[in-house]
Amino acid sequence: MSDDTGALQAAALERFIDAAKRRHGLDLSGYARASLQRRVQQMAERDGHADIDALSAAVEAGATQVDHLISSLSVPVTEMFRNPSVFSALREMVLPMLASWPHITIWQAGCATGEEVYSLAILLHEAGLYDRCQIFATDFNEAALAKAQDGIFPARDARMWSQNYQRAGGQASLGDYYHAAYDHIRLDARLKANIHFAHHNLVTDGVFCEAQLVLCRNVLIYFNRELQHQVLQRFRDSLVRGGYLCLGNRESIHTAPAARDLVAVDADARIYRLASS
């Protein structure tokens, strides 16, 4: 065994990235490689290929669907009220300011299976703002979007989510917002009324809407710095003056050119505001 094992694996990944681009126009070139390597390897194994090169050959031969590629490679791991302190910060610092706009548009990018946007909907409801809101929740994983649209989740997660909700300063009980049946929970339809789920690829698609709040958590960590900067610029361009951006707890805007216009409102919660001039 030699130093070259890693180089060979990395080279196979680049060939896969080329194949996905050529065959499906799916651009993965801006993704951080280490975690992508692992996911492509797992996809090759799941689909019964000997290695990544065999998977790439299948892609080249047109034997895979683009949606299958995306759902195999994207990571719709999420939960309700993940990092409760972020949701209490949104409740305390952002929602009261949003209240000053007659119509509120919110873009949640990378919504995965929807738990986060429903959490946000609950906050807005409790603040009496929900009826004034239009919420766009986007992702490039169609299978995840379909689940988000259904709003049906495994009951086994509900206990942890209730705790998160309480820690986020929830005013009622999370159980008030869903109907439990057997092994799943179904979120109340009134939470869905103003949420529009839509396909949007952050790599290739442009500004989605003009928003008072853009929420994009735990998506940028999968991108290399250049793509992070590009996507942050798109978020910045989507925000109205005085609008808010909320990122994941371990993401940052430090080195991005867009950071020039964004002021930290709560650095720990990764909440920024677009300066007004």
């Binding site: 065994m1 094992t5 490689r33 975690s35 390597q37 692992r38």
Partner: protein, 193 residues
């Protein structure tokens, strides 16, 4: 002989005590990055890092995404995130599913490091109550890196070192007091011209 350019360490139950013991003597003349995945419950690593910094030869910090794996710094995976290292030396985080019930996962860190550093890597698996790290250490050794395992007989919880030994084998099985000196010596010997 190729030089050693990084050290990865994995530990779980009893890991904090183990880190306190090995980090003071992990002090080679030639500085290399040290990356740690330790399954801790606390959301905020600041206290833990301060505590370990106070006893370690090198500063201990929480790893941040897109930062470089810095020589002479001990970088810990944040809780709730996998820590990975790129071939460029940049650090990445992910919230991919848990592996062996763990996030951060030792397997994920070690596997990425094996691809990034190959023969220039030392992997250390210590005390813990699950099987995380066994697969990762196998990858490290398969890539030509050096595998070190804490002697299961003295480990606070022996499940993890035993699992690693069974699946990956080891170049050295050592009590905690000898791990730091061994790794340091290896780094310095390999860096001699």
């Amino acid at each position: 002989m190729t030089s050693i350019d990084a050290v990865v360490i994995g530990c779980s139950a009893g890991g904090l005590q183990a880190l306190k013991q090995i980090l003071p003597t992990l002090c080679p003349t030639r500085a290399v990055p040290v990356l740690v995945a330790c399954h801790t419950a606390s959301d905020d690593l600041r206290g833990l890092c301060d505590l370990l910094s106070a006893v370690s030869a090198w500063p201990v910090r929480e790893a941040r995404e897109r930062e470089i794996a810095a020589p002479g710094v001990i970088q810990m995976a944040p809780s709730g995130y996998h820590l990975l290292v790129e071939r460029s030396g940049e650090l990445s985080l992910s919230i991919d599913p848990r592996v062996s019930f763990a996030r951060p996962s030792i397997d994920v860190l070690f596997e990425s490091a094996a691809i990034a550093y190959g023969t220039r890597l030392v992997g250390v698996v210590m005390t813990g109550a699950n099987h995380d790290g066994a697969q990762g250490l196998a990858r490290v050794r398969h890539g030509g890196g050096i595998g070190v395992i804490q002697d299961p007989d003295e480990a606070e919880v022996d499940v993890m070192p035993r699992a690693a030994l069974a699946q990956a084998g080891a170049d050295q099985v050592l009590p905690l007091v000898r791990i730091g000196p061994f790794v340091s010596r290896l780094i310095d010997q390999r860096s001699e011209p």
